[in-house]
């Protein structure tokens, strides 16, 4: 294969959305020169030098096939779509739901005392018009999340006299006193922010709320790095990297596009299982604060959701369930999924408005705002299978 051919392949990979810095291109060319330029070698060299994750490999395989066969097979899937506002076609349904959720009369005389921002604070996300939505987005972007701290295993020099001895500094100082360790130095543990994992249900009825929560996550991600975000439809999509660099609307849109079937709600149990298998119990959820946004309408079996929640609760520091329906009068967690999940939830809150997001912020930063679940409620005996 000549150089032009290789450049052609790399060009295709870039078009398909794989990032190939020049350095990696050079490595790839070197690798081909070393191993050989027959098709098999070319394939494996490219895989070793140009991909960096299982997702990259999937893309690479598709582009490579296209490059060899010269067909358009499957390539279109990878081309990123133009950003569209997530809720454009939802207006009709939102109007219908307004009656259920509206809890503030904006034409009521009393409201006049509030500033526009204050009014917006308590408005349900599903009731916002386009202009209000922009305003709310701006306010969310200004929100900052201060996560709870936990003790890290890392130590740093301390000024206090108690604590683990800092031999390095003690020995250093003893040189000044003729080898006598008179000034004894100590170490103390540093503190690090707990990881926050946000899992947002993006099924039709939850779209307005997910959008705001993901925007909230976006603000948090740009402010500090220990936040992970996932979208949960019929399958689980990780959004963290998108939130890091790209437009959150576009990221959500892409996650929403990957959902094949909106009717009948989410498969919460399966989605959580996927999270537990691929990320959660392997380390991401360990000691983390997990925020789940969902109305609890689960199409799958409640037993499955219960056992996955139990599994999650055994590794997570705290589970916060955000259910916007909770804001409506007379709400009771009757949805089977919600009822199954509730025993494993530490905090159960509304999250339907800016004010409710503030409440979430305070739970995330103090870790002590809601009734604390008794850990015995999640004993494995009750949740097997």
């Amino acid at each position: 294969m000549d150089e032009d051919g290789i450049l052609g392949l790399v060009e295709l990979l870039r078009t398909a959305g794989l990032s190939v810095p020049v350095g990696n291109l050079i490595t790839f060319t070197e690798a081909v020169a070393i191993v050989g330029s027959d098709l098999r070698s070319l394939y494996w060299c490219g895989r070793a030098t140009l991909t960096h994750s299982p997702i990259d490999i999937e893309l690479y395989d598709r582009v490579f096939r296209h490059w060899i066969l010269g067909t358009e097979v499957g390539l279109t899937e990878a081309v990123s779509r133009s950003p569209e506002p997530l809720l454009v076609d939802d207006d009709e349904r939102l109007d219908g739901e307004q009656a259920d959720f509206a809890e503030i009369e904006t034409n009521d005389g009393a409201v006049l005392r509030f500033s526009r921002t204050e009014t917006l604070r308590s408005m349900d996300f599903a009731d916002l018009d386009d202009e209000e939505r922009l305003e709310v987005d701006r306010l969310i972007a200004d929100m900052r999340l201060t996560a709870t701290m936990r003790r890290s295993r890392r130590r740093r020099p301390s000024k206090r006299s108690s604590g683990a001895p800092d031999l390095r500094r003690t020995v250093r100082e003893s040189l000044r006193t003729g080898g006598e360790p008179i000034n004894r130095r100590t170490l103390q543990r540093t503190r690090v922010a707990r990881r926050v994992v946000i899992i947002a249900d993006i099924s039709g009825s939850m779209a307005a709320y997910s959008r705001s929560l993901i925007r909230y996550a976006h603000a948090a991600v740009s402010a500090r790095s220990r936040v992970e975000a996932f979208a949960l439809g019929t399958r689980l999509t990780r959004l963290t990297r998108e939130l890091d660099i790209r437009d959150p609307d576009q990221a959500l849109q892409r996650a929403a596009d990957s959902v094949e079937d909106w009717s009948g709600g989410t498969r919460l149990g399966e989605g959580l299982q996927q999270f537990n298998d691929d990320w959660g119990t392997r380390g991401m959820a360990r000691g983390a604060v997990v925020v789940i946004l969902s109305d609890g309408w689960d199409r799958g079996e409640p037993e499955r959701l219960a056992s996955e929640m139990a599994r999650l609760s055994r590794v997570a520091h705290r589970i916060v369930w955000v259910n916007p329906l909770k804001a409506s009068d007379g709400y009771a967690p009757l949805a089977r999924g919600m009822a199954a999940a509730l025993p494993h939830v530490d905090d159960f809150i509304e999250g339907h408005s800016l004010g409710a997001l503030d409440r979430l912020s305070s739970i995330l930063s103090s870790g002590r705002s809601g009734p604390v679940r008794s850990r015995s409620a999640s004993s494995p005996a009750e949740v097997t299978r």
Binding site: P21, G23, N24, T27, E30, A31, I34, V35, R40, S41, W44, C45, R47, A48, T49, T51, H52, S53, P54, I57, S152, R153, R154, R155, L167, R168, T170, V171, S174, L175, R176, G178, G179, P181, V192, S225, T240, R241, Q273, N276, D277, W279, T281, R282, G283, M284, S307, R311, P380, T384, R385
Partner: protein, 303 residues
């Protein structure tokens, strides 16, 4: 470089096989490139697919010493790179004082204390020290468990293959180490580090390869038993367990059954030794609900 350095991808496959590791073409290409281009190799994959074993087999193949750095949260330079032997330094000061030989000049004492005598070499410094004649294999295991600070620090060391200790000067590798990094993907390794590395995603082996792996790893094992166990394990991977068994579990299980004196799979021994392969109570329940008899039957009937 030693004469044992493989000259082609096929050499890597046969060389690793001779040392008990059966690699597929993709992994062999990645290893060969890593050896030839002197780049670190980042291996990711499900737990138990044999990421760590790659480094061990590679060290056996090249004859380079295996240096292992297990990552954990809070891992810092004093654990990964070097530390001074403080108790010995203090003792040395005391001894010198008692013997009356202690110098009144701070610079002199300092030179004495901060010499290579009192230096404790940790794996990273050890890997780039000049005592190696054959490139050592540096295994940085489960990098995702360490924190960002350590990654940045590691990147710096790997970029130059050199470390500067303020009191002693710069240490530079005479033979750069072969670096194998493994990760379980509990978090993303930083892009800057990934760009420096060659990458390979290690898959579960197919059935025939798994049987061959078991045969080469468990010397006394009956071939029929290896075949049946591998088949049963690959069935277990498909029934949605919390922790699907890896190759490591297959090997453990065959070892366990061999130790029990079995030459063929039967329901009673599966029940008795299930703990070798299934590590959650819920998973064990799921296997039992599936019917151990049926599972064993389908695994043994194919012969």
């Amino acid at each position: 470089m030693s004469s044992a350095t493989p000259a082609s991808v096929a050499d890597v496959v046969s060389g690793l096989a001779a040392n008990g590791y059966l690699a597929d073409e993709g992994l062999a290409t990645a290893i060969f490139l890593s050896l030839t281009m002197g780049r670190p190799l980042l291996l990711e994959g499900e737990p138990g697919v044999g990421k760590t074993e790659v480094a061990k087999a590679l060290s056996a193949l090249t004859g380079g010493e295996l240096l292992r750095l297990q990552c954990y949260e809070g891992l810092d330079a004093s654990q990964a790179l070097y530390e001074w032997d403080y108790p010995r330094q203090l003792l040395h000061l005391r001894a010198a004082e008692a013997a009356g030989t202690i110098s009144s000049d701070v610079a002199v004492i300092e030179n004495e204390l901060y010499s290579e005598r009192f230096l404790v070499r940790r794996p990273l410094l050890d890997a780039i020290s000049d005592r190696h004649h054959i490139a050592p294999v540096l295994l940085i295991d489960e990098l995702d468990r360490a924190d960002d600070e350590f990654e940045a620090f590691l990147l710096e060391v790997l970029a130059d293959n050199a470390v500067t200790i303020p009191e002693l000067g710069t240490f530079r590798a005479t033979v750069p180490p072969i670096v194998i990094i493994t990760s379980n993907r509990t978090r993303d390794v930083h892009d800057a580090l990934k760009r420096r590395c060659l990458y390979h995603w290690v898959e579960h082996p197919d059935l025939e390869r798994e049987i061959a792996i078991v045969q080469s790893r468990v010397p006394g094992a009956n071939e029929l038993l290896s075949r049946q166990v591998s088949r049963l394990v690959s069935e277990l991977r498909s029934i949605g367990l919390f922790k699907p068994p890896g190759v490591a579990e297959t090997i453990d299980w065959v070892m366990a059954l061999t130790a029990l004196g079995r030459t063929e799979l039967d329901a009673a021994s599966v029940e008795a030794s299930l703990g070798a392969v299934v590590k959650y109570r819920e998973d064990a329940d799921r296997v039992r609900a599936r019917g151990i008899d049926t599972l064993v039957e389908s695994a043994t009937n194919a012969d």
